[in-house]
Amino acid sequence: MNQPTTDPAQERALIARARAGDESAFAQLVTEHSARVYGALRRFGLNPQEADEVAQEVFLRAWRGLARFEERSQFSTWLYRIAFNEAQRRLARRPPPTVSSQPGDEDAIAALPTAIGTGPQARTLDREFEQMLQRALAELPADLRAAVVLRDLEGLSTDEAAAVAGVRQAAFKSRLHRGRMQLRALLEPYLRLEQAN
C-alpha cells in the first residue's frame, strides 16, 4: 500500500482549503493520493489506460463531493469508496476479462527466478509476483476480488473495507474468505515454488 507522506493535521488543513475552493490545495491532495487510487483501480480489474482515466474521474468526483465528505472516516477511505464505485461502473460496461491464468500455469512459473533472495533478483520476483497476482485477481468474481483487494492488498480494516464495498460486515467476511480461498488455488504454483526455496 502507498503510505501518505502528509501528516493527518496537514491533510485536514488541505481538505479545509480545498473545500473553500483552493485548487492548489486540492492538487496537493491529488498528488498525495493518486498512486494509491491508481493502484486500487488496477487491482479492482481495470487496465492501465482505464485506471489512468478513472483515477481522474475519482478526483473530479471528490472535488465535487468535498462538501459531503464526513471527516469521521479517513480521506483515503472516502477516496477508496469513490474508486470502488467508479471501477464497478467501468467494469460493468465491458465484458469479463478474456486473458486467462490457469492455476497450473507452468509457463508463468517457469519464467520466475529460481531462488528467493534480496536485491535486484528479489525485486524482479516482486514484479513477477505482481503480474501473476494481477492475472489471478482478474479470475476472481468482482465482489470477491474487491474484498481481497481492499482488505489484504490495500490494508483497510474489515470495518472500513465493508463500508467501501457497501455491505455489512458478515457479508464482507464471507466474500473475503471465498476470495482468499479462490486466490490461494490460483496462486498455488507460486506458493509451492516459494516453499521449495
Binding site: 492538487a27 496537493q28 491508481y38 485506471a51 489512468d52 483515477a55 505482481e130 497476482l133 492488498l153 480461498m181
Partner: protein
C-alpha cells in the same frame, strides 16, 4: 480459517480450529498457504502508475476548468 487468521474468532472456536489443524494435514496445509499468501499480499508492490501524482493533478485541474467552461 479467514476469521482465524484475522484474529476474529472467539477463544473456543479458535481452540477447535487449532486442534483440528494439528491433526488434519490437509487443513493445516490450506491454513499455511493462506498465511503465506497473506504475507505476500501485504508486501506486494503496488501497480506502477502511468502518470505521476503532479501529472494527474494537472490533468484533473484541466478537466475541472473545462467542465466549468461548459
Amino acid at each position: 480459517m479467514s476469521a482465524y487468521l484475522d484474529c476474529d474468532l472467539r477463544t473456543q472456536a479458535r481452540a477447535r480450529l487449532e486442534h483440528h489443524t494439528a491433526e488434519c494435514p490437509e487443513c493445516r496445509s490450506v491454513l499455511d498457504d493462506l498465511r503465506h499468501m497473506l504475507a505476500l499480499l501485504q508486501s506486494a508492490p503496488a501497480p506502477e502508475p502511468v502518470a505521476d501524482g503532479p501529472a494527474i493533478a494537472t490533468a484533473v485541474l484541466r478537466r475541472l476548468h473545462e467542465s466549468a467552461d461548459h
